[in-house]
Amino acid sequence: MKTILPILTVVAAIVAIWYAAAIPMNAQWAKDQAARADTTLTTGELVLDTWSQERPRLPAPHQVLSELWDSTGDMALNGRAFSKRSLILHAWYTLSATLLGFAIGTGLGILLAVGIVHSKAMDMGVMPWAIASQTIPILAIAPMIIVVLNSMGISGIIPKAIISAYLSFFPVVVGMVKGLRSPAMMDLDLMRTYSASRSQTFWKLRLPASMPYLFASLKVGIAAALVGTIVGELPTGAIRGLGARMLSGSYYGQTIQIWSALFAAAILAALLVGIIGIIQRRSLKRMGMAA
């Protein structure tokens, strides 16, 4: 209760600012329409008009929410959940590519981290590049990957998944290397006194000890993977996915469509991060590491 009240206040303030901002943003169009129809608007009419335009510069929150409902829940109730205009379908395209890419990226990332921890040459050679690569705007290569793979005859989910795998890869590598190195000297010495082999030390000490770090980087990784998929959907000719909805919305000036796609992406991101958070809490609790 102590945290919910401030959060609700802030959210309410954001919504209020949003409504207020919609008035000056959309007023010009409303005034132009009124001038064309040779009528003048009272202030009340002007305000109401700015909140209910068809193609506003800034749609009001209720317009976005109703569009969001129209293209998800309403369609699902009418049995058209997977029609072409349904955001559920587009969100599914995005989600499937994100999850595939995330799985690939995380798997490879963990493998590389294991290699780095066990081989000094890899540590010294690869690690600086893994860190440096985080400073590089990797997303810039997204359109190229899409087009190149397309020209090799690979299209659909794979190119998008590759981009999101690439984006979720490095956070996992860096986090896992830190995690696998997190056991203290004392713990490692204890394993030594048990005469544990390298693989026993790995499975019984290093891997369990790395779990908090793994989950922290998984959260970063899944958010990055979703961004990667959305950006990867931009240059595909805008057919499928939330990114494509945003692009086609921006081509045709359908601002409400852009905003609802943006909201859908935000909800998706929140769900994914939330699910990982739940898994994190459950598994850390079972392992006796709950904070």
Binding site: K2, L247, S250, W259
Partner: protein, 283 residues
């Protein structure tokens, strides 16, 4: 297919790997020279293997150009690359970075006095920082036009929340003991802020600044995919991809990589100077 290049690439890879293992496990492995040499050898190996594979397998230019071809393109199109760099990095990314980080810093200092606002803004800020904010690019391009102003706006939105969250966290990083000391000195709020809490917050602030460098460049480049005047790195990448001029695309990516790491490096260098007292900097 020419076997010579393939075999050369393989042999080079094996030799470099052996050399690296040797260096890393040698008695000199702790020295600075070896610490630099090993990653450099690894990087050169990747370039040589890349070149060898492209030449050996006759990979067409439209799929993957060789490093030498990219370098040739880079050298001959410096004026274009420079123009794109100025448009995207100096005008778009830097302007947005300074405005966004500055605004976030001021907001953080302002809300710092209200526990209530902090309790409300921090979870919301953390939540927003995890969202795909790049998605606001089409909206902002619509509002601010095609030129660099809209790119700067995207960058402002992208860097604001990570920076805000880090600064607020940093301002809370002092211990009760330190604050008590300031109050026994009868220090005013402003004195406590400038002499204790801001310096203590610096490691966090610089963490936010460093995260933001990458975000700024990504935001500026991706925003150009949604509309741009006929210059800019994102614009060049998307049009050259359409024309299958992949060597130019890779040249732009090289510029982006250099600019991104230089930007990050510059911020890290300033951090080293400002937070020289922090354990992570004393090595």
């Amino acid at each position: 297919m020419s076997w010579g290049w393939l075999i050369f690439a393989l042999v080079f890879w094996a030799a470099a790997y052996a050399l690296n293992v040797r260096l890393a496990n040698s008695s000199a492995s702790g020295t600075r020279a070896v610490g630099l040499a090993v990653p450099i050898i690894f990087g050169i190996t990747i370039l040589v293997v890349w070149e060898g594979l492209v030449r050996g397998l006759n990979v067409p230019l439209v799929i993957l150009p060789a490093p030498s071809a990219i370098y040739a393109k880079f050298v001959t199109s410096v004026p274009t690359l420079w123009e794109d760099f100025v448009q995207t990095f100096i005008k778009g990314a830097m302007t947005g970075y300074i405005i966004g980080c500055g605004a976030a810093f001021i907001t953080a200092v302002l809300i710092d006095r209200s526990k209530f606002l902090q309790a409300g803004l921090l979870p919301v800020g953390n939540f927003i920082a995890a969202l795909p904010i790049v998605g606001t690019a089409p909206i902002l391009v619509m509002w601010f036009g095609f030129d660099w102003e809209s790119k700067a706006a995207v960058v402002v939105v992208m860097v604001f929340f990570p920076m805000l969250v880090n600064t607020v966290e940093g301002l809370a990083a002092t211990t009760a003991m330190q604050r008590d000391l300031m109050s026994t000195y009868h220090a005013s709020y402003l004195q406590t802020l400038t002499k204790l809490r801001l310096p203590a917050a610096m490691p966090f602030i610089f963490n936010g600044l460093k995260i933001s460098t990458t975000l700024a460049l990504i935001g500026a480049i991706v925003a150009e995919f949604f509309g741009s005047p006929i210059k800019g790195m994102g614009f060049r990448i998307s049009t050259e991809v359409g024309k299958l001029g992949l060597d130019m695309v890779w040249a732009e990516i090289a510029v982006a990589a250099i600019a991104g790491s230089a930007f990050y490096g510059a911020v890290a260098l300033i951090e080293k100077g400002v937070t020289f007292w922090h354990p992570s900097q004393r090595g």
